[in-house]
Amino acid sequence: MTAQLSNRQTGVGIRSESEKTFNKGFIGLTLAFALGIGLILFSIGAVITWRAWPAIQTFGFGFLVNSTWNPVQGRESYGALPIIYGTLVSSLISLVIAIPLGVGTALFLSEDFIPLKFRTPLVFLVELLAAIPSVVYGLWGIFVLIPFIQPFALWLHETLGWIPFFSTPPSGGPGMFPAGIVLSIMILPIITAISRDSLACLPPDLRQASLGLGATRWETIFRVLIPAAISGIVGGIMLALGRAMGETMAVTMIIGNVNRISISILEPANTISSLLANQFAEASGMQVAALMYAALVLMILTLVVNIVADYIVSQVKAKY
């Protein structure tokens, strides 16, 4: 009786069992999908390991140090050293170019060098750099960048040829050097965005205290702001490294796809992802397993780098 009275007063009916079950079911459904994300991540690793298993059994860890890649039936031999080398070196070249530019841009965009209403569109433009599809950078790299940097590559060889990295004359075509440049363009926005974020979330007191003591703007930046934000900046650089190692299309189109280790960055080379992009569609048998093995190596490399980066970036937020 009291229940009915209160129903009439509030306008709410008795909660039916079926609705309660439905409600629980809905919550359960969302939980299932949330767990599904973890499941996808896990199955990516599981499926690739499963498909790579024949190659892992045949080649073992020797795969990582062997440098022949011969898919000819009967003389098959697979080793990933040149492509691991290419992946690491092309990423390092891109970092060498992108770190100073990215951090410089981040400083420019986080301090008040220009009014906010000009800074906002600049931030947007830098973000746009990350949104342009990789394959478009590849096309641009082939027809615009490679011819454009040819004189510069020639100059590097002629003046700095005694350094092993520039020891061979540039072919005028694809190679490690243009690939590194395109990669640096693609990772610049990540370094810039994360460095800018970690600079921007520093408490204003830090800046004010330093300026109050009579430091100039750049003394403040170098001695207070950068040291305070350094872990965020390093985290951003790590994320960029992870991106650079996994980047595929632009690199595939301009690195030359030659499975050979050459100390000179003016030579063509290859990366794990570009080898996959080139050979996967036509591969069969053991070659597929070997490519899966290479993919597993790439996945582990990028996972480690990304998780470390994620950890560093999350530490920053806890600090202030």
Binding site: I44, R51, A131, V135, E247, L298, T302
Partner: protein, 298 residues
């Protein structure tokens, strides 16, 4: 020391433009400005070249005809346009319900428990997985096991894996911005959790969620690596679905990749035209997303 101020304070607080400290400041300001300019040069270089090379190709046949056979000119990229739309629609149909429901759990029901922490971590890790790995995953799971062949479905599945983290993250953030009062109000009049979420919280967050989805779609449309061995490519019109979903299918991004490296001029020109369409898509969605994210329900 001729004016009054320094006499009163004893030292000058005025910055001397010629002092080493000021010069040091000016020097680094110039360097930082140069960094900014150098960073933007490639953006404009890409935009300008794509515009110059692409706009001259824009005509009706581009959108209505098949690509020409090697050596011949004339023709278009219509099959790749249709293929991209089909593949991306498939990916969206998989990733959006999946991602939105997962985000609903994270933001509405988890209360920030251990599960939510792990799922957010997994989302972050998943967003760092290289796009080619998503393609390999789709190949290993669907194609090489014979579930589906090289097809729009396999390609759409790979793209969905790539879209998922973006959608989860943007939806999660969008839901968290919805004020708590709105939920209390809904509970207060006796609504169930599902009613609160589906009729009150989600509708309020729709603009921000849509922004995230659009950005993910634009990104997916430009993805190439996961498609070159899942959707493969085709020089012909896609068959009418559902048959068309099970056959290799052309996409814009793979067309750009394939045609960029062939020695034939007409194909290269189509590659530039395809790039222009992809870049315009990204530009338009980014600008609209910026504009839309300023519209708030609450």
């Amino acid at each position: 020391m001729s004016n009054l101020e320094p006499q009163r304070t004893g030292i000058s607080l005025k910055k001397k433009p010629g002092s080493p400290r000021s010069l040091f400041d000016t020097f680094w300001t110039v360097i930082a400005s140069l960094c900014m300019i150098v960073t933007l040069i490639p953006l404009f270089a890409v935009l300008i070249f794509v515009a110059i090379q692409g706009f001259s190709q824009l005509n009706l046949s581009l959108f209505t005809e098949l690509p020409p056979p090697p050596g011949l000119s004339e023709g278009g990229i219509a099959n790749a346009l249709i293929g991209t739309i089909i593949t991306v629609l498939l990916a969206t149909a998989i990733a959006v319900p999946f991602g939105v429901l997962a985000a609903v759990y994270l933001s509405e029901f988890s209360g920030g428990n251990k599960i939510a922490q792990w799922v957010r971590f997994a989302t972050n890790v998943l967003s760092g997985v290289p796009s080619i790995i998503a393609g390999i995953f789709a190949f290993g799971l669907l194609v090489s096991s014979g579930i589906v062949g090289f097809s729009a479905i396999a390609g759409g599945f790979a793209l969905a894996v790539l879209m998922l983290p973006t959608i989860v993250r943007t939806t999660d953030e969008a839901l968290q911005i919805v004020p708590q009062d709105v939920r209390w109000a809904a509970f207060g009049i006796g609504a169930y959790n599902y009613q609160t979420v589906l009729k009150v919280v989600l509708p309020a967050a729709i603009p921000s969620i849509l922004t995230g989805v659009t950005l993910a779609v634009a990104r997916a449309a430009g993805e190439t690596a996961p498609l070159i061995f899942t959707a493969l490519f085709s020089n012909f019109w896609p068959s009418v679905p559902p048959k068309g979903l099970l056959e290799p299918i052309a996409t814009l991004s793979v067309l750009v990749y394939n045609f960029a490296t062939v020695p034939f001029k007409p194909q290269q020109e189509l590659a530039w035209a395809g790039s222009l369409i992809l870049v315009l898509l990204v530009l338009i969605t980014s600008v609209t997303a910026r504009w839309a994210s300023r519209q708030k329900t609450y």
